[in-house]
Symmetry: C2
DNA sequence: TTTGACGGTCAACGCGCGTAGAGTGAAATG
DNA sequence: CATTTCACTCTACGCGCGTTGACCGTCAAA
């Protein structure tokens, strides 16, 4: 950060530094999780003083919130029809976790969503809920909400097992193989319930 | 822990105390995660001095390892045939997370498997790997390992969404509804790859 | 009855963390 | 040029954590 930015204007330099800190934070939050990541480590990786991180983001919480912001644009699932839902969901997963710029942010959010309140809330109330509604809207039937939720659960499981737990051979499977094997299963989940139990879903 | 156990023999009293500590640890690890759970809090909940916890388990790591031990007995998936796999897997999930005595242990393991090295290793190398092999052995075909892994991923996703993220209506759905909706999807995952893509449908 | 082992407690240490506030020097402003 | 603004650093505080070793009372063995 002290090499080739002496010519930049003040606020551009500031934006640059802020973004460097955010990148460092994303990487560490994604790799080690919230609790095991220290402000000092983020600052060191960004080549900056720890106090500056506090000054910019207010607190470690603030830094985490700024670093793990889910980018819901370009989600093909939001515009999919009932028979392209499965493929769209897999495409979205791959794009978020493999080619996207915000890959680290997605990993960081997912890594921490079981242990960090903010990440949990974001995961449930933003990421999952919105996508679940999109799926539920695209299918019909009495169990639409539940089926959409289970659909989301399978996608979450796939993401966690592939990108965080890294269970082989799921972690190294090709996108084509994922599409080929997962799509029929997801479509079975979305298909109208044949004729099993009558009556609505009743929690016992 | 000082009420009605004065009459117990020394080593039985010791075992009782140890188990009380383990119960407290499981509950806190399951609710708050490893990092947010303090030895002091575990000791307080067990009605015991923090130093005793160290004396028994050596370290916080040791306590965590002892508290989150996966109980792989009575798993019906290990003896299932290819067409009962899906039902067996759902039954196992329900039994581990709802009526089992080690429910807290299962939740604790799952809650921490994304952020704690020991929990991650246990999850991947014990829990998932063993069950994945059982599934792979019960089905045939070229992608048996991958399909078994994706099967496991869906089950992990279901568990996390239902018991940790608690996304509605998945969290409150009845066991019957889970069976009814998930089984067809899981079976589609295990079925031999039909003829969707120009893929190598493997003859035996 | 003496003696030792052992379940359990007490007080404290040292470290690393998040955080705060004063300070510095260069860029913007007039 | 004088002044202000602002990105950034330095130093340090206070707290809570995991962990330790000395200590106490009681039960079992000799």
């Amino acid at each position: 950060m002290t090499s080739s930015d002496a010519h930049l204007s003040r606020d551009e330099r500031r934006r640059r530094t802020e973004s460097t800190i955010l990148d460092a934070a994303r990487e560490l939050f994604a790799d080690a999780g919230f609790e095991r990541t220290t402000i000092r480590a983020v600052a060191a990786q960004a080549g900056v003083d720890p106090a500056l991180v506090m000054q910019y983001f207010g607190s470690k919480e603030g830094l985490f919130g700024a670093a793990t912001r889910w980018n819901g644009e370009h989600e093909s699932i939001l515009t999919a029809t009932s028979d392209t839902l499965a493929a769209a969901a897999i495409d979205d997963l791959l794009s978020h976790f493999e080619h996207a710029d915000d890959r680290e942010a997605a990993v960081a959010l997912m890594r921490n969503c079981l242990t960090h309140p903010t990440a949990l809330a974001a995961m449930r109330d933003q990421v999952m809920c919105e996508r679940k509604e999109a799926v539920a809207a695209a299918i019909e039937g009495e169990d639409a909400q539940l089926r959409a939720g289970l659909f989301a659960a399978c996608m979450v499981g796939l993401g966690m097992v592939r990108y965080l737990i890294k269970l082989e051979p799921v972690a190294s499977a090709s996108p084509e193989a994922l599409h080929r094997l997962m799509e029929p299963a997801l479509q079975a989940l979305l298909a109208a319930p044949a004729a099993a139990a009558p009556g609505p879903t009743d929690p016992s």
